[in-house]
Symmetry: C2
Subunit: 237 residues, 2 copies
DNA sequence: TAATTGGACTGGACGGGCTAGTCCATTGCA
DNA sequence: TGCAATGGACTAGCCCGTCCAGTCCAATTA
């Protein structure tokens, strides 16, 4: 019996079905616990406690541990995707103590990186990709999905291609524009984009998977610069 | 009570300590079950059954589920490393129904790929790397370690860098030789090698992690060829 | 050769602990 | 008053790790 932040008033006094606020609290707790413990070790009781909700309420809302799990992964996936769409790794969430100085300028979401020379634009793009992909929660989600996808096939489709595919598309457009401008000569922008993303992402993903140190800034810069150098060198006009 | 393959006679009539054959059987069963089920779901009883051994024997040999797990991962890791060292994904094992025609010629283990032009050599190398890295058991081991490394930190060091590092070293030497021969101009072979491996490996690893289709031959060829093209284009003399 | 010894192994039972999911009497907003 | 939510008890089940009576066998002893 808590008395803090009353859950029952959902803004406008609606007739109140199964309280969406509760549902959200459960989802967030579920995300936290599943990311922390994995599917099997996560206990529904702990999730209920952490959501400040009775276990029965959990079952009323989701019916099943499995379905709760799927919903939690979906939830977190959307959160990550939103952060990605915003071009910034820290989406609206209770975490993210403050914007660290990785991105001083206020570049807009889907910005085109069309200022400066190609090398600079590529490096800039690379840093953005790394910031989004190596966000700690995104990494934890990735590890969780990899661990469980074999036993919960419904986790597969969205994540398997979604993440990188949009990056590749954006970058291909960038390369196309640079080619049109005569600054580069990229015969197959789609392929080149896929390759650049692979160059940027591989080491960081590897380290985030195995929980090694999360890719120091110096490493990230080296990766981005050498990848940009390779592309510029290959596709100089 | 089984009567098959008498376990007690270990070649020469040794005084018989804790039977190594049993230990090996347990390890192999443990590898199979852990790869199949993951750490938490794997049950010691099932492992014992699968090893045709009493549960007590398992505890006599390994003492603990945790230690059995570590030993099993180590075992499988060595198996994979051996397969890698042999340059062929299928090491001595009961599986591998037959050598499929991916590697018609009998190239030796640490061969130098010095025949043909650079592009061909790179493509050849890339295919080799993919064959080793995407071997089904190696992939399953990777997924298992990723899933459990957070809770069993002793799994980390060997695998985190071991696998790709040796590939990179080999390739750097190849690039150095080609540069010395005047066929390419690679200013930093180590960096270029790391980049090439990233290009080759990224997509396949991604698919093997998420259990998508295991990278069709056509895809593999496309990846290898475009990666080789990129390097040759960037480093043409 | 025959009996004995001792260690590895078996198989089945069991304690203690944890978990998914259900049930229900009660509470407290709207 | 009605409906969501509560919380705690409860069932049924799985699993780790231990225990133990008994088997099997190589080496040793008589």
């Amino acid at each position: 019996m808590r008395t803090d932040s009353g859950p029952r008033r959902s803004a406008a006094g609606r007739p109140a079905g199964p309280q969406p606020a509760k549902r959200q609290a459960i989802l967030e707790a579920a995300v936290a616990v599943f990311l922390r413990e994995g599917y099997t070790r996560a206990s529904v009781d702990v999730i209920a406690d952490e959501a400040r909700v009775s276990k029965q309420t959990v079952y009323n809302h989701f019916g099943d541990k499995e379905r709760l799990f799927i919903a939690a992964v979906e939830e977190e996936r959307e959160r990550v995707a939103a952060g990605f769409a915003a071009g910034s790794p820290d989406a609206p969430g209770p975490d993210a103590p403050g914007p660290d100085g990785t991105e001083p300028d206020g570049t807009e979401p889907g910005e085109a990186y069309d200022d400066g020379d190609a090398r600079t634009a590529l490096i800039h793009f690379g840093h953005r990709v790394l910031a989004v992909l190596l966000d700690e929660r995104a990494s934890a989600l990735r590890r969780l999905v990899i661990a469980e996808v074999a036993r919960h096939p419904s986790l597969r489709p969205a994540c398997a291609e979604g993440e990188p595919q949009r990056l590749v598309t954006h970058l291909a457009e960038l390369l196309g524009r640079r080619t049109a401008r005569g600054e580069l000569t990229v015969p197959e922008p789609a392929t080149a984009a896929r390759q650049f993303v692979a160059l940027i992402v591989q080491q960081g993903l590897y380290q985030s998977m195995y929980g090694t140190c999360p890719l120091a800034d110096a490493q990230a810069t080296a990766v981005c610069e050498s990848a940009a150098d390779l592309l510029v060198r290959a596709y100089r006009p």
